[in-house]
């Protein structure tokens, strides 16, 4: 009897230790890599995306607690393509499972090529140039694209009934592509478009805006650039006061930061925005995202954080799926990411064979009294358009 009991205890102990051992063997620590411009001219947007990535990792560690844990190793590319490549090579050498990050199509291009050579997945929301996905790299994924921004801007301009539009755009890859796409679409619809390209070093936009005012005489001014450019263009317009009905822009414009920093300049200006400001979240995941963001950074999330979060969350989910399927170590992560079909904070995400998210469409927000109100499309709007209206 005693012997039988001893055997039973021994077998039970072995079974328990085997079970515990098996459990421990399955739990894994995953190291993600992130290459971002944390200094240099794109530091602001790079840091915004970095915040979103940090929130995704924090939430993943909470949601996968006891099963998996995640860390992210971040390298600053200093807004330099060469340093972006070096960062990716260093991350590959340090054994990261994949890379999330990247800002600026001119940096993402060579950096993702280095990731492709190293056999690493590179997922981003920081470069919308069509050339990035046209390369057909199997390891490259992107959750947004020029088409999504262009559709929003074109839709907004059509709703306004604009007949003459002046597009003032920065001469970089992504901004030029977007401006040209909007130009083609509007011209095809019979809208008269004036195109005005500028360099990133331009700080005085009055001569350019004077051309718009005296030669183009548009209904609407459309801006495609970054925060600095928007402020310069709007200041020049405020001084010269062209007779327009609206000023429309794209990314980095309809944001809480711009509303707080330049309230007089931004009033009634439109820009792409997934979120209103103050932020209103209703989905459970979005509420958790906003709460985590607030906890980590003591501020409301912006679009950069939102995009950084979504791309990283999708990556983490695919890493877990690939690991559970036993294909992670065999290079199965790209295939697993391509199976993604998720409803996220930026809408539905699926990837085509080039890694592009063809479902991506943006929304348009308008600065109204220190807030950002979503005004287009109608089904996403939380307010009405103040039109015609300009900041001066």
């Amino acid at each position: 009897m005693t012997r039988t009991l001893a055997n039973l205890v021994t077998v039970s102990a072995l079974a328990l230790s085997a079970a515990l051992g098996a459990g421990t063997a399955q739990a894994k620590d995953f190291l993600l890599g992130s290459e971002l411009p944390l200094t240099g001219s794109l530091a602001r947007v790079g840091q915004g995306m970095h915040e979103g990535i940090s929130v995704a990792v924090e939430m993943a560690n909470r949601n996968y607690a006891g099963r998996h844990s995640f860390k992210v190793q971040t390298i600053d590319d200093e807004t330099s393509p060469a340093k972006g490549v070096a960062a990716v090579e260093k991350l590959a050498g340090d054994g990261v499972v994949a890379i999330t990050g990247g800002y600026g199509s001119n940096i993402i291009g060579p950096a993702s090529e280095a990731a492709q050579k190293a056999g690493l997945v590179y997922i981003t929301s920081g470069g919308v140039s069509p050339e990035l996905t046209q390369r057909g790299y199997p390891t490259f994924f992107r959750i947004n694209n020029t088409d999504g921004y262009a559709l929003a801007m074109i839709g907004m301009l059509q709703e306004m009934g604009a007949k003459k539009v002046s597009i003032v755009y920065l001469n970089k890859d992504a901004t030029s592509s977007l401006a040209k796409q909007v130009n083609s679409a509007l011209t095809a619809k019979g809208v008269t478009v004036g195109m005005h390209e500028f360099d990133g070093s331009t700080s005085d936009f009055k001569p350019l805006m004077n051309k718009v005012k005296l030669q183009d005489r548009p209904d609407v001014i459309a801006m495609v650039g970054y925060e600095n450019d928007y402020v310069g263009i709007l200041r020049a317009a405020k001084v010269l006061k062209p007779q327009v009905k609206a000023v429309v822009g794209v990314w980095s414009l309809a944001t809480a930061q711009m509303a707080k920093e330049f309230p007089d300049l931004m009033e009634t200006v439109y820009g792409t925005s997934m979120l209103p400001y103050p932020v209103e979240f209703t989905q459970p995941e979005a509420v958790e995202f906003a709460a985590t963001y607030k906890k980590l950074f003591n501020k409301d999330p912006d679009y950069l954080g939102q995009f950084g979060y979504v791309q990283t969350r999708l990556l983490i989910d695919a890493v877990v799926r690939a690991d559970e399927a036993g294909t992670l170590a065999k290079g199965g992560l790209p295939d697993e990411l391509r199976k993604t079909d998720a409803n996220t904070l930026i809408g539905r995400v699926t990837f085509d064979r080039n890694g592009d998210n063809l479902n991506f469409t943006h929304r348009m927000g308008q600065h109204q009294g220190g807030k950002v109100v979503l005004v287009w499309p109608k089904d996403a709007a939380n307010g009405t358009m103040n039109f015609p209206a300009v900041p001066w």
């Binding site: 200094t39 240099g40 001219s41 530091a43 602001r44 790079g46 840091q47 807004t79 001469n171 005005h196 390209e197 500028f198 360099d199 070093s201 331009t202 700080s203 005085d204 936009f205 009055k206 001569p207 350019l208 004077n210 051309k211 005296l214 030669q215 925060e227 600095n228 402020v231 310069g232 200041r235 405020k238 001084v239 010269l240 006061k241 930061q257 920093e261 330049f262 309230p263 007089d264 300049l265």
Partner: protein, 292 residues
């Protein structure tokens, strides 16, 4: 067309004044020490951020922040001088490396303290438009900075030509050994030049904060622009800086108006190369050009 040209010339003139304000401090230090201070743009930026901090945290008008900014930028400038003065060999090349490194440190310090967001004054007066003859348009900030910059540059020019210290600066620039034999203390004069450069940098920072936007990566851009203007002017020439800066401003502005805004930097560089091709020592060059 006439209206476009007039506005282009007016905008170019104002832009030139702004460029000159940034560049003149660099030219002054080069004139006295034969040192290109590659941290000069970052010192300008530091002044701009001090104005931002004063306005945001204490509600102080950016004009009132100038004395505080002057103390801080002057102290930073004195530190740059103290480090430069320890260079014993190959001062011209080693000073480039040292000041470039100091510029990076300053940029990253600004990034750590004030983050990467863009900033500009929230005082609406600076952005209000000033219209001349219903044809020429500018912001109050641009005109105020242009006039202030001119006054400061005229003051520096007068000081160089009519004060004892100014003459000592020119003597040191002309022949360091002879000036020392004549009783000029090179260290005192050099640090004085650095402090005057800090004053100019402080005003330039104020001008940028009120008329443009500031962000941490701007310092390097300012240094490059100031360097181009200093070389174009003729290394160390103060009046040359103003004329060279206005030439660059006007050519950029005309290029935006008649060609494309994306070609304005190229136009400025072509002007720069043409001037150097015709006159290799710059517009007002020659070995020792200070105050000419």
């Amino acid at each position: 067309m006439f209206e476009l040209t007039l506005q282009a010339l007016f905008s170019g003139l104002l832009a030139g004044g702004y460029y000159a304000t940034v560049a003149v401090g660099l030219a002054l230090v080069f004139g006295t020490m034969r040192v290109i201070n590659l941290a000069h743009g970052e010192l300008v930026l530091l002044a701009a951020y001090v104005a931002y901090a004063a306005e945001t945290n204490y509600g102080v008008n950016p004009v009132m922040a100038i004395p505080v900014a002057l103390v801080i930028v002057g102290s930073a400038s004195a530190i740059v001088y103290a480090l430069l003065s320890r260079i014993r060999q190959d001062r011209e090349i080693n000073s480039l490396i040292l000041t470039f490194g100091l510029g990076i440190i300053l940029t990253n310090a600004i990034l750590s303290i004030w983050k990467a967001d863009i900033h500009s004054t929230s005082d609406p007066w600076f952005q209000d438009s000033l219209v001349v003859a219903d044809t020429l348009f500018a912001m109050n900030a641009e005109v105020a900075s242009f006039v202030g910059g001119l006054v400061l540059m005229a003051g520096v020019w007068w000081w160089l030509n009519h004060s004892w210290q100014g003459r000592a600066v020119r003597a040191l620039s002309s022949n360091r050994a002879a000036a020392t034999l004549m009783g000029v203390n090179p260290r005192k004069i050099e640090i004085l030049s650095f402090l005057i450069a800090a004053l100019l940098a402080t005003f330039a920072g104020f001008a940028i904060y009120t008329g443009k936007t500031v962000f941490p990566a701007l310092g390097h851009v300012l240094t490059v622009k100031a360097f181009i203007i200093t070389v174009l002017a003729g290394m160390g020439s103060i009046p040359g800086v103003l004329i060279g800066a206005v030439m660059i401003g006007v050519i950029e502005s005309l290029t935006v108006t008649y060609l494309s805004a994306s070609l304005q930097e190229l136009a400025g560089m072509i002007l720069f190369l043409v001037v150097l091709f015709v006159s290799p020592s710059g517009l007002f060059g020659g070995g020792r050009a200070l105050a000419r």
